[in-house]
Symmetry: C5
Subunit: 265 residues, 5 copies
């Protein structure tokens, strides 16, 4: 996620972890880029809590289980783009988060079924599952050209991540498209100052879970994330948020290997 | 559910599962069709979570328990139409869902009592039970003829399923019938573009649980499900939804045998 | 509850259950009738969930515990009218429900203390307790004579039961009595078509729990229960329901012996 | 609480309980009266649930633990007025309640720390803690003299107790004092008919927990408690209750010895 | 926190606790002062509940685990200012609270990861995590000079602490800055009488959790805390609190050593 991953070995508590490189069996970088950038891709956010008992298992048992968990995840990388996040220590809702992009929701479901059927999975409880999809930008085509250009500039990423699901009120959906466009232009103007330091991605989830949107943020500067959300609270469109967060998930981007090393401790 | 079921054998982890065909003791296809299409039939949705301990039982014990669970379900098929869904991996509320249609609510209750009294049942917790009934269409008789004809076209089914319970507000029920008819006609117009790809079924549940309606959707295209619910969010009738979802259950249609095979892993 | 109870013996799983008749030590039928019909009687609804562990106890241990549970209940029948309901399979809130009528709330409390102190009680968790009392009809004296006569006709009972607690809004209580009377007359007119097939009883609970009323329904026709609650949703008085249900408990009337036999399985 | 406590011995299940008298080490009756009647005293309400496992401990172990629990409570009586209530059987929130009055909140905290550090405390879960303080009457000085006199008449106590926490809305606090005075006078007029049979005490809790007030009631007549709360629901001030109850705790006054005897069963 | 900490030894239940002094490896007092007073510092509030099982571990095991917990905390003091609070006995949400100030949120996350990975951590459940940051005062520059001077007077601290998270409504953020300034000036005027006895600190948390602010209070006089929050409830700005508390955490300031000694009992 944050640059190329290198093949390394880690010896932790006497147990060897073979750290993964983006190998031949994974979705190629090009495929991953497509899944992460194109419209019509499904995104599933699955947050898990690790049960108390797991931490009391023998270290070797835990390592074996984590390696099997890793193998399950790797096996699904040919069809899916899978990102891992550590929530523990920054969120009270769960310990870690998987973000899964795929062309078919049932592939994401199969990954999660396989994770939960693995020995480690028997110590996991699924605290939150959010489903959404990427779509072509709804309002951007109506924005001024300068704004469109600004939006094309690249954004910096990680290590901090926030996931904030949103439900709009009935009034929002009842508004005519041009009024929503005007409000979204004001929204975008308020957000632009943070475009460089906070990376955003939007998922549409109406009908796929209890929210209308899943908003995803990555940044190295949590203060800019704060300033961005504050700026977005001040525009008229914010009055149409019936639910904003609840939960707000805050965490850090982590590779699968780092996640396993952290959990293995 | 999705075409004829064939008699096959599956050997999983050394344990034989005799996969069911629609056998002589089951409700005939005709009976099932009647239960699924006629008014005055009760529908119960029961979502279960499997406790942590179960996954740690010996594989053979689990297989024996699942076979007994299957026998319980099959035994009730003479009176009930029973459909099974896998929620795990797409919903955080439960692992699987039973949808039960019957002429009497107490037959559905007896099935669930028998499931919970079976050895597998001792590892299940009932997370959600919704009760409703099918009724003659309330508003369709007042719709224009063209719309009525459109509504008779067949809809494609599965493998994705969504169950969204709805509670209307007091204003809705206080409206005169003709105003509700006009709004439901607008609602139906908004839904028609998705009639072919998203199959819908409505259950009335006022007084039988905490909701007024249970809406059931099946589709091969979750993006069309999303577009349908979004379109329905924009009509005036949507302003009278006091609660929409909470929970929204998303899952996949599965045969009982597939469900057992998945859970047995 | 549904006609006379006969003295029978049941052998289940090799364990003898002595099924109760309305015996000499119980409240006489006359006393029970008074408790169930007179004003100034307290009603307590206590819904219990049976913990997972209980189902894994040895069959004989469970039977012994259930017989002791039964003895506890029978012992209190001299002062209390105690009805039992099976919620499992129709409600997700609890497995069974006790409805207790008595002249003193502390007698009901003592019954529940004794149940919970019995061996079976150690596997029960109290999910919901609602307390109310019967009162003289508030509004009926102001109704037209014809309506009063209609309300005196008998209602059919069971086997289905629904318990729906209600909290009114502040506006309701602020209304003058004559306006509330007019609305309750409209409410009663809407309910009368279901008077024969749905038996109702009202408990006042303001100050005794978090609701204002506990409404209790018994019927053989859940579709009529549905139609009744729907009809009541359409009258002006319904706009003053701040909370209606949450939970709605749906279940079936059961004798204590049937309950024990069902739980013993 | 309900008259003098006598020194008695109770033999229960072969285990001797030495029942307490108001002994030399306790706060004198005068001190207790001051704590219960003067302004500026802190009141903490702590409701506990006893975990399932405790009920399965050996009878002697439980008796030993309860005696230790009793010793902890008695040890704190020199600084604190401690009352005990049995909620089990009348409330679903908890099994028993401690009401603690003291000059310092940290003394109440220390009592609860000591209870939870005792062997019995390891089987308790704290379900609810409410903190408040007594203050000089806010509005009474502005009431007519007749009403002031009426409020000085004694009230009868127990055995029933209700604890209802209340949160006012923002409009209430924004009202000028004279308007609040007028509304509280109407409130008091509505309450006076129940002054004799329902004893009330008010705790102010803004900033000390999530409520503004903790209202405490004691009565021998739950029907009068009901009538009182109903009467208070009808005055204008009631429209400013943003939250009323949730939870409403109903229980019975019990001595520490009775509580221990009940729990020991 | 409350004056210099001395190096002492405590023998509790036969186990030696080496009580910490502010040692060489800790952040210097100057660093700590900066973290606690400067803008742009992140504050994380993490509240933990200790599971039932822990209390039943052998005393020596618990002492060893607590010493390891202490070592983890001490190790992070070079980068972080870490304060500890005892909630048990005053709040029902959790047993203890860590307040962590640091320049980077990931340092706070690492501390919590290390705590949870320690043997004691396996018996902890994270009940609440709030994240915020200190910022330059928003409105103070616009206040009259007299008020600015008053705000510079020192405030007394502990032993009582309250943490109250706040969410503002959409109207608040939509107001122009001068109107918010006027309201905050009224707010500050109402708070000034308690400036001396109640120490306050404000954290901005929009986008970092589900709240907009975390308000932190320390006092020796809980009655003044009550009066302060009551005074703040009466100003116009209070009408823009969509959520105030829920939870309100009340507890006492404690050193790490005192916390360990209390928990070790």
């Amino acid at each position: 996620m944050t640059g190329p991953r290198h093949m390394v070995h880690s010896v932790f508590a006497g147990v060897l972890f073979v750290l993964s490189a983006a190998g031949a069996s994974s979705a190629s970088a090009a495929d991953r880029d497509k899944l992460l950038s194109e419209p019509g891709v499904y995104g599933t956010f699955a947050a898990f809590r690790i049960n108390d008992e797991w931490g009391r298992l023998d270290q070797k048992v835990r390592s074996t289980q984590l390696n099997a968990f890793k193998a399950v995840v790797e096996r699904h990388r040919d069809k899916l783009a899978i990102d891992t996040y550590l929530l523990r220590g920054l969120s009270d809702r769960a310990d870690f988060l998987l973000r899964i992009h795929g062309a078919e929701l049932k592939d994401s479901q199969q990954l999660l079924l396989d994770v939960l059927a693995s020995p480690f999975g028997r110590y996991l409880s699924g605290e939150l599952i959010l489903n959404g999809m990427s779509k072509k930008a709804n309002y951007v085509p109506g924005f001024p050209d300068g704004m469109k250009a600004d939006l094309k500039a690249p954004s910096e990423s990680g290590p901090y991540v926030a996931v904030i699901p949103i439900r709009k009120d009935a009034d929002w959906w009842a508004l005519p498209q041009d009024q929503r466009l005007a409000m979204m232009q004001e929204h975008t103007e308020a957000a632009l100052p943070y475009h460089k330091t906070v990376k955003r991605k939007l998922y549409h989830s109406t009908g796929l879970d209890d929210f209308d949107f899943i908003t995803y943020f990555e940044t190295a500067k949590p203060d800019d994330l704060h300033s961005l959300i504050l700026a977005l609270s001040k525009v008229k469109e914010a009055r149409h948020n019936r639910r904003f967060g609840h939960p707000t998930l805050l965490g850090t981007v982590t590779t699968l290997d780092q996640l396993i090393e952290t959990l293995g401790q």
